[in-house]
């Protein structure tokens, strides 16, 4: 049952940010690489995202931001993940993330940061690295 192994990635946006083109694009790119994307869309609360993370038993959580409030929202989310005991799930960020904020984001606990210019390849490599799973390399078509 090698087909049973896959990476489940929760993708969503927090707060009032409505620029979802980026995260929808990423969702499709990751799907095409064999990732199971659980797509939460915009306007999530941190608590709602943590509940979804637990119920979906996702391997990774990915957030997209195009507004400057990302440090605040990400810190809030990771604190709630800690409170729920699921802060072992790696968090990655994408979108308009400024280089000068990266150090702070990493100190909060963000594991992957994919700002402008990042490639699908980099994200896929990150996902494989943090989950220890390989994406659909050995599919023989026999389920």
């Amino acid at each position: 049952m090698s087909a049973g192994v896959t990476i489940r990635c929760l993708l969503g946006m927090l707060g009032t940010d409505v620029h979802s083109k980026g995260i929808r694009t990423l969702a499709q790119l990751l799907r095409d690489r064999g990732v199971e994307v659980i797509y939460l869309g915009e306007h999530n609360t941190a608590d709602g995202m943590v509940s979804a993370l637990i119920a979906e038993d996702a391997d990774v959580i990915g957030l997209s931001f195009s507004t400057s409030t990302y440090v605040h929202y990400t810190r809030d989310l990771i604190e709630r993940m800690k409170a729920a005991g699921v802060d072992d799930v790696p968090v990655m960020l994408g979108g308009l993330i400024h280089r000068e904020d990266e150090a702070e984001l990493r100190s909060i606990g963000v594991k992957g940061i994919f700002g402008p210019g990042s490639t699908t390849e980099q994200i896929v490599r990150f996902l494989e690295e943090v989950t220890g799973k390989r994406l659909s390399a050995g599919r023989d078509g026999f389920g």
Binding site: R31, G41, H43, A52, D57
Partner: protein, 322 residues
């Protein structure tokens, strides 16, 4: 020994409604982890008391939005709900975008609601089995009812819907004339038909076409027969949803008052479930990478070299199974 102790722990946690334990168990079901079989066995034996409502229909018909509304209705009645939302996987990459949950985000923080997304990834023919096992878990969590949502009406979906006590088929206006409505496949499995997006033109015509086709199939002389209802809803503003809830209740009451029909349904479910396990067992036995052994390899050689034919070869294998 430790395995069975572990199984007892997991089963107990699921039965306490522990979200994390239940979520992880479903992941192991999806991964085809055979070590969880004892957990599923014990949960199955203790289960069967949670009503399962199936919702299916073409992509974009509004299933997830309707499920979201149904969850709200049931929550308003203080009922707790588990949802299994199944989306197709890409046949090319095996990946998927599980997007049903995005319609249900308002229930994310409600501890009376458990929502799990599942993809149809690479579990050839095994999707219904995996969904059936996931339904065992959801049923054991102690929720008042279960909603299971799937796309389309292929064989897989029909097999999944067989796990449900009541099946709701969603259609939208403008998806075809009376001939489409009488095409085989959907009429046979639906207990309740819903024409969603009822504010779009043609809704009444779709309702009429469905009604005609359903009444044609209905045998009024069969004391156990249920005449499927046809309703209109507009899931975006919840109109018609309360009527749908009541119709589903009426169908459940019909089954309760017709024990023979109920029994037939449960026996059909049991038959499907056992067939799924047998066929998956065969698939695993003959297609798995470790499945090759000398007699099987010799049989394949005979087949390729035309010393035997596929029917005789399959007959020999099935004969060996007994």
């Amino acid at each position: 020994m430790t395995a069975s102790a572990d199984a007892l722990d997991v089963a107990a946690a699921v039965r306490r409604g522990d979200v994390r334990a239940s979520a992880r168990l479903i992941s192991r079901i999806e991964a085809g982890d055979e070590s969880i079989v004892p957990v599923l066995q014990s949960l199955y034996l203790a289960g069967g008391n949670t009503p399962v409502i199936g919702i299916t229909g073409p992509p974009g018909a509004g299933k997830s939005t309707l499920v979201d509304q149904l969850v709200s209705r049931y929550r308003a009645k203080s009922l707790t709900v588990a949802v299994l939302a199944i989306d197709p996987a890409s046949p090319f990459s095996g990946g998927a975008i599980l997007g049903d949950r995005v319609r249900m985000v308002r229930h994310n923080t409600d501890s009376g609601v458990f929502i799990r997304s599942m993809s149809s990834r690479g579990v050839l023919g095994g999707l219904a089995r995996a969904a059936g096992d996931a339904l065992i878990v959801l049923g054991a969590m102690g929720k008042d009812l279960i909603l299971v949502e799937t796309v389309g009406v292929g064989q897989n979906e029909i097999d999944i819907m067989r796990h449900a006590g009541s099946v709701v088929i969603l259609q939208t206006p403008g998806t075809g004339d009376a001939v489409q409505a009488v095409k085989a496949g959907i009429l046979e499995i639906g207990d309740v038909f819903v024409v969603n997006k009822s504010d779009t033109p043609g809704a009444d015509r779709t309702v009429a076409a469905l009604r005609e086709a359903i009444e044609f199939r209905y045998d009024p002389h069969d004391a156990n027969a249920w005449l499927p209802s046809v309703l209109k809803t507009q899931a975006t503003d919840a109109s018609g949803v309360e009527e749908l809830v009541q119709t589903i209740e009426r169908h459940a009451a019909h089954l309760a008052s017709h024990p023979q029909a109920q029994r037939q349904r449960l026996l059909a479910q049991a038959r499907v479930r056992i067939t799924e396990l047998v066929s998956e067992g065969l698939r695993r036995r003959y297609l798995g990478s470790h499945a090759m052994n000398a007699p099987f390899a010799a049989l394949l050689d005979d087949l390729v070299d035309r010393r035997t034919d596929p029917y005789a070869a399959a007959g020999r294998l099935l004969g060996a199974v007994g």
